[in-house]
């Protein structure tokens, strides 16, 4: 296969190492990539100097700038179990497929009665879902679904954590996962009273520690004078 370098033509370049490297990087990024689920609403959190990164295992309440609350659990098994319990509690039946599909969804902001329709809708329809009024969280009337979601979701997430821990201990391996944490992600323009309602819901459940999600950036509190 000896080939004499052709005179005048482009010099043949051995691309093999480059290709090797390219594929190595592709593999690396493929394996490390964690796709960010498209959120049901765009939320622009304010910036702070907070350096604590959000734990992987979390229960997230998102509040958009009109005060709607969205609920999500990072652990999909816990999410499925939570839905099963909520379904029994509110007498809203879900099929097994719906439950499985639900576990793959990011946070949602609908009444549990509308949840089956919401799950069945496609992604496009889900964004424009007409009954997306946020998870009901009346702090006065008993219809505080958010409270139940947080309470049931929290218990399930902790259960998952304990199970994983037991399994890891049985296998003799090191256990690194963290306990689930409660996170609140809120738009900077949201009126604080809406956030207060959500926090009230948490404190009613005797949960007092939160991670407030803020965007990166060094802590500048200087407000743009043009605004």
């Amino acid at each position: 296969m000896s080939k004499k370098p052709s005179k005048g033509g482009a010099p043949a370049l051995d691309m093999t190492p480059m290709v090797d490297l390219a594929f190595l990087l592709v593999t690396f990024f493929m394996l490390t990539a964690s796709f960010r689920m498209s959120e049901p609403v765009a939320v622009d959190p304010p910036s702070s100097i907070g350096q604590v990164s959000l734990p992987d295992n979390h229960i997230l309440v998102t509040i958009d700038n009109t005060g709607r609350a969205f609920f999500g659990i990072s652990n999909s098994t816990a999410k499925m179990n939570a839905l099963r319990q909520m379904s029994a509690k509110y007498n809203v039946p879900f099929t097994e497929q719906q439950i499985v599909k639900f576990s793959g969804l990011p946070s949602f902001g609908v009444d549990i009665k509308d949840l089956p329709a919401y799950i069945d809708a496609n992604e496009q329809a889900r964004t424009n879902f007409k009954n997306q009024k946020g998870v009901p969280l009346d702090t006065i009337t008993p219809n505080n679904q958010l409270k139940d979601w947080i309470s049931i979701g929290g218990t399930e997430a902790v259960k998952m954590y304990e199970e994983a821990k037991l399994k890891a201990v049985d296998a003799g391996g090191e256990f690194k996962a963290e306990k689930p944490r409660y996170a609140i992600k809120c738009d900077g323009k949201t009126k604080y009273i809406y956030v207060k309602d959500v926090i009230k819901t948490f404190t009613d459940l005797k949960l007092y520690q939160f991670n407030l999600i803020t965007s990166l950036e060094g802590g500048g509190t200087v407000i743009d004078p043009t605004k």
Binding site: S48, I49, G50, K191, Y192, V195, I199, F210, T214
Partner: protein, 211 residues
């Protein structure tokens, strides 16, 4: 580029064609193109930084029969619309009494020269103490744990101010985070979110107007 030599247009029947010496080099260009395309895609979609967050602990509601202690050295921030901050020191007084004068609100804003400077002045002593400790810690005169404990003690010192953050119904979440952030920048150890009281609300409305 090298190519896979094609078999040379339709097999001639019974043609005793001598097999050409085929080149075994294949053109890698499309593969490389694809590899880089994928690479670019994954690089761009990769979420490197997990969202940052701020840990905050809210106070448990006190038992109903417990009387709320008077905050000795307290500063209350009242946040309102248009990014305005009002504050007063000490206990709230609706009118003059023997302990002090009627509460008057002073105003601050979020610019560097205002809130930041205000907190800097209020916490100078504490910050200097922590700085002195930090120098010692850096010079290895203090153990890590001792340093952390001492910083904690300084922060919890009775003489330092306690900050109460209250909002009216028009303040935004950003305002709250900005104030907490500024308190964190100034290493304040004692701050708490509290519900606004009616007389305080009235004072704020007096300043900003009912709408």
């Amino acid at each position: 580029m090298a190519e896979i030599a094609d078999s040379g247009g339709g097999g001639h029947k019974g043609g005793k064609k001598r097999a050409k010496k085929q080149s075994t080099r294949i053109d890698m260009t499309p593969m490389v193109d694809l590899a880089f395309l994928l690479l670019t895609f994954f690089v761009l979609t990769a979420t490197f930084s997990k969202p940052k967050s701020m840990e905050l602990t809210f106070p448990a509601p006190p038992p109903p029969d417990q009387k709320i202690d008077e905050v000795k050295k307290g500063i209350t921030f009242l946040l309102s619309k248009d990014d305005r901050i009002f504050y007063y020191e000490g206990q709230f007084r609706a009118a003059d009494d023997e302990k002090g004068k009627k509460t008057e609100l002073a105003e601050l804003n979020f610019s560097q020269g205002s809130l930041h400077k205000f907190l800097l002045d209020k916490n100078k002593e504490m910050q200097e103490k922590i700085k002195a400790l930090d120098v010692k810690h850096k010079n290895k005169q203090l153990e890590d744990t001792t340093f952390k404990r001492m910083v904690k003690e300084i922060k919890a010192d009775k003489e330092s101010y306690t900050y109460l953050i209250k909002t009216d119904d028009k303040a935004t979440y950003k305002n709250v985070i900005d104030v907490i952030d500024e308190l964190n920048v100034n290493v304040v150890g004692k701050y708490v979110m509290v519900d606004i009281l009616k007389p305080e609300m009235d004072l704020v409305i007096e300043k900003v107007g009912a709408n």
